[in-house]
Every structure is written in C-alpha cells, then in structure tokens.
C-alpha cells in the first residue's frame, strides 16, 4: 500500500518534483552543521548587511570576491577588482557533536578568515544568512512533522473512540473540539503562549512549547473528520463481522478501522503541515516564538521588521520568507497530488 502510493506519486511530474525537493530540504536541514559554512551566532561586526558574495572561477578553482565597505552609513559594499579568496572544501572548523553524538571537526566548504563567504549575504551583526537559513530550517521543517504526529495521535484516538462508541463520549468530545475551533486561532495561540511561558523559559523548551500549543489547536479538526469517517466505516458489515466473531473494540479500531483511514490521514497530514510551519513563523515573527540564540525562519524574518532593510534594499534578508513560501507550496502541491491519487473512493471501497 505505502510503496504503491509512493510509486504513484513518483509517476506524476508535480508529485515527483515536490517529493524530491522536500526530501532535499530535509536532508539539508539534517546535515545543516556540515553544510553551513558558519555557526548560527558566528558574527563579524565589520561586515554587517554584507551583500551576497560573488562566486567566480579563478585560477583553476572556485573563489569568492573580496569586498570593501565604501559607505558605512548605508552599508554599501563594492567588489575589489582582482582580489579573490579561494573556496576550500572539507575545511577544519571548531568541533561540534553531530546529533549530539558524533564529534565532527570539519565543514563541507568555507574560506579562510578574515575573508567571509556570504552566499546569501549577512545580517545586522554580520552573521551568514545562508548558514542561519540552514539551521533555521531544522526548527521550521521539523515543527510540522512533530506537530502533525501529535495531532494525528490525539485526533485518531479522540475521533476514533467518539465515532466508534458514540453516545455521551461522542457528545463531550465533539463539544470540546467545537470549543477549540470556535476561538480564533491566533488569539488562542498568543493567549496559551502567555499563560504557559513561565513553565518554559529555556530557549530549547520554547520549541517544545510551540509544538504543544500548535498541536493543541490542531487536533480538533483532525478528530472531527476522523469521527465522521469512523461513523461511516462503523456501519460497514466487516466491522459487524468482527464484532460477531467476538473481537474486542480496541482491536477492531486498530485492525479494521484505522488501516482504512490511512490514505485519508496521509492527505490531511500533508495539507496541514504548512499550517504548523506558518504558525511557528507567525509566533516567531511576533517575537513570542523561537528565541535567540536558536534560529528559525520566522525569527529571521522578525529581524527584517527594521525599516532600513526595505529602504536600503537588503533583499537577501527576506530569503527566509521565500523558503517558507516554497516549503508551504511544496507541501500543498504534494498533498493535492496524494489526494488525487487516493480520493476517488478514498480507496476503502476497492
């Protein structure tokens, strides 16, 4: 079933493109410490708002142009003709622990200090935007997956039980989901963030807090649809047949109901992941999400609120927005493709 679905996605051009692109994104996020030339907080105050450095082919190898600050008042840099710093591969770097386990003391590429390699320019303290984008993608991309995992588990449990048993449990569960859905999402997120802030003060814990908040908002919709699907599946004779054989309700849910919801779950998951990415971005943009020294796409965007970024056309600082945009589009298109494959009869009939 799963391999069949994968095969069908790959047969469609849009599906294959989105899937491959997303896999590349996740691989890049996973290997961020290796791919990024600098650490997230690696700053250079002499090179603030540096434009992307030109990469050229010079004397048989790749090299970056060197720049000179010509007007500090408006951060105007000019390339110095004939001056290059060669790009080295597999360069020595301060040791860090990959996944907290494997010590690595190299990065994939870099230039020798004091020259800096800014593929996507630098920010107000001279930190490399490209590196921060890579590190930030770890937060922004995983938040969707973890969030969807939590909401699916809660939604499946609550919706499945409500649909299967009905009665009072169903009423209570559904009124609960309506309550959550009735409150405008963003206000609820901000209120929850404010209420829970005192229990999560560490910047690592903030990540967990945001996932918890977003999942708390998100499970209601999933639970409701699962309940509806369970209600319709519940009256299918194969469920009665299992009951007639004396199968217990938990096994019936697990063995007969949930596998038949699988295709639907994949589609909703795909289509709701962008919600989490955007939710995190919104929170961080408002300054109540991910905090320094961690980084995320939303947090990077919040640093662009400064008017001079627009006045002086520091376009490279808006790349996190582009990254969010592309990721959201990829997930949406992939979700649509999967829905097209799965939907005709939700494949439960066949």
């Amino acid at each position: 079933m799963t391999s069949d679905l994968l095969h069908q996605i790959l047969r469609r051009r849009a599906g294959a493109f989105c899937l491959v692109a997303l896999i590349l994104f996740y691989v890049a996020a996973f290997f961020a410490p290796l791919l990024a030339p600098y650490a997230t907080s690696d700053q250079d105050l002499t090179k603030t708002y540096h434009p992307p450095t030109g990469v050229v082919w010079h004397e048989g190898q790749l090299a970056v142009r060197l720049y000179k600050l010509v007007d500090p008042t408006c951060a105007k840099y000019e390339a110095e003709p004939g001056q290059f710093a060669p790009i080295h591969f597999w360069v020595k770097a301060p040791t860090y622990h990959f996944l907290g386990l494997i010590p690595v003391s190299h990065r994939l590429f870099g230039v020798e200090a004091p020259a800096r390699l800014y593929l996507l320019g630098s920010d107000e303290t001279g930190r490399d935007v490209f590196s921060r984008l890579l590190y930030g993608s770890r937060v922004s991309l995983t938040i969707g997956l973890i969030g969807i995992l939590i909401t699916t588990v809660i939604g499946l449990t609550v919706g499945g039980l409500a649909g299967y048993f009905g009665g009072v449990f169903d009423s209570v569960a559904m009124r609960g989901t309506e309550l959550i859905m009735a409150i405008p999402g963003l206000y609820l997120i901000i209120a929850l963030r404010a209420a829970l802030a005192k229990y999560f003060d560490d910047s690592d814990q903030i990540f967990i807090l945001i996932v918890v908040i977003l999942s708390f908002i998100g499970w209601a919709g999933t639970a409701r649809v699962i309940r509806g699907l369970t209600l319709s599946l519940r009256n299918r004779p194969f469920i009665y047949a299992a009951e007639a054989l004396g199968q217990g309700p938990v096994t019936i849910l697990w063995k007969h109901l949930f596998p038949n919801l699988f295709s639907y779950l994949i589609v909703t998951s795909m289509l709701s992941i962008p919600g989490y990415i955007l939710g995190e971005a919104a929170l961080s943009f408002l300054g109540i999400g991910i905090q320094e020294p961690s980084t995320s796409w939303g947090l990077m965007l919040s640093q662009v609120q400064d008017l001079k970024v627009f006045m002086l056309n520091f376009w490279w600082l808006l790349t996190p927005g582009l990254a969010i945009f592309i990721t959201v589009i990829l997930f949406n298109v992939l979700g649509d493709v999967v829905r097209d494959i799965v939907d005709p009869k939700l494949k439960t009939q066949v």
Partner: protein
C-alpha cells in the same frame, strides 16, 4: 447436554426498539419499534426462512440473535439457555456457536486485509492455541470447502468477484465451527446465476456439517427453495408462519398474498 428435542433456538416475544433522541443530553423523544413482539423457534438442522420487505425488521432480528443490536425485551433461548441479556463476556462462548453471513459481499470483507488474515481472525479469537502453520492449513481447508483454492489465501478482497467474496464470507463464518448461522440476505446482491451456486453451497454445507440456518431474504423464490419453514414479517411483526409449501400453496395473511403477487412471473 439438553435433549435433542429441545429446539436449537427459541425466541419469545422479542422486542428491539431503537430510541429516537434529541438535544444535547440525548433526551429520548420516541422510539422505532423495529422488532415488536416476535416469537418463533428453529429446530436443529433445519432452515427457517424469514421474508419481508425492506424495513420490516428482518435484518434486526438476525442482528439481535447474534447480539449486534441489544434486544429491548423478550427472551432468546439457545439450546434451552436464556442468552437474551448476557453481558458481552458471558456471550463470548456463543460467538463461536452463532455466526452471520452478510448481504453485501463488497463491504463485508476488510479491503486492507488478505483473505488469510480475514479468515484467520476468527481462528485467532476462538482457537488461540493454533500456530501459524495450523491456521494456514485450516484456512486452506475452509477455502476448499466453499469452492475456492488455497492459493487465493494471500490475495486481497478486491481481486475477487461478488460470488467469490460471498464464499469467503461463508468461510469466515465456518471458521469457528458454528452450529447456527444467520444468513442475512446472502444472495440478494448477487447475479441470478451466482445466487443459485451460493444457495446450493449453503445447502451442501448444511448437510455436511449439520448446520442450522435462519435465512433472511426478500426473494420468495429463493426462500421457498431453501427453507423448511417460513416466517413472513411486516412492520416489525410476524404475520404468518408456516411450512414453505403451505405459504406458497395457501397463503393466509393478506400481506403474504401481496408479497406472492409481487413475484414477477414469466
């Protein structure tokens, strides 16, 4: 053991009412009397036909017997023992004795499971001591019994025709070695030619395994063919009960007459 003269199934004044509820607190505002004061007996090794139009309550009787719906009142005696209001755990032994075959062969098999898993589920529940090899052997045997091949075991339901699926449904019901099978319109959804095959299969199995059937249908011709005794149902009540021949030769109730008149004649 009860004597052989005890009927296998005795149903007295069976009532199944469904509440109509409204409002947040599920207040009861009325009820649908799906089965209202129905009595009949089924002798061991016989087939009792149950006919009636859609909505007459015949399927509800079948489901009440196998406890897919809870009876509201009356008594159901199986082998002389009252099983009407047993708790699910107490009813468990009867799940092995009473089985059901469903009308819709397309929805009665879980599309996500192979035929082996579908039939083997029954074995896992009621014969927990069986190992994988024994279960595979038993499933192969059951498939043979219903006219399918053992190599069909690892396929999925969508690979089979309606008639074949109904055979698989029968094999699943037979897996627990039941005594009594509720056949809930087992042939209504099938082609006429396939109907005959399935009816014959059911009759062969009855002879071979000494099964007792409650055969629910709206098709009078099929019921006449298979039944020893026929119950005619209308609006939750049994309006006529007689031997198959008597019903067809000499119907008493006006509703039965109307049903017989409705049979298309060529």
């Amino acid at each position: 053991m009860p004597s052989t003269t005890t009927p296998l199934l005795q149903v007295e004044n069976l009532k199944v009412h469904f509440p109509i509820t409204a409002g947040l607190l599920q207040r009861r505002v009325g009820e649908v009397k799906a089965v209202d004061d129905v009595s009949f007996t089924i002798e061991r090794g016989t087939t009792v036909g149950l006919v009636g139009e859609s909505g007459s309550g015949k399927t509800t009787i079948g489901r009440a017997l196998i406890r897919l719906v809870n009876p509201t009142g009356g008594t159901i005696r199986y082998n002389g023992k009252d099983i009407t209001f047993l708790r699910e755990s107490q009813f468990r032994p009867y799940r092995k004795k009473i089985q059901i075959i469903f009308q819709d062969p397309y929805n009665s098999l879980n599309p996500r499971l192979t035929i082996f898993k579908i039939i083997s589920e029954a074995l896992e529940i009621h014969f927990p001591a069986m190992g994988l090899e024994q279960r595979r052997a038993r499933v192969a045997e059951l498939l043979g019994k219903v006219g399918l091949k053992p190599e069909h075991m690892d396929r999925y339901p969508h690979e089979f025709s309606g008639g074949q699926r109904q055979r698989i449904g029968i094999a699943r019901a037979l897996a627990v070695e039941p005594e009594f099978i509720v056949c809930d319109e087992p042939v209504s959804a099938l082609d006429v030619s396939v109907q005959a095959q399935i009816v014959n299969l059911l009759q062969d199995l009855q002879e071979e395994l000494g099964l007792t059937y409650l055969f629910i249908a709206h098709d009078l011709a099929v019921v006449e063919h298979i039944s020893d005794f026929v119950l005619v149902m209308n609006q939750g009540k049994i309006v006529e009960a007689a031997t198959a021949d008597a019903i067809y030769q000499n119907p008493q109730d006006p509703y039965t007459k109307r049903l017989l008149d409705a049979v298309p004649k060529i």
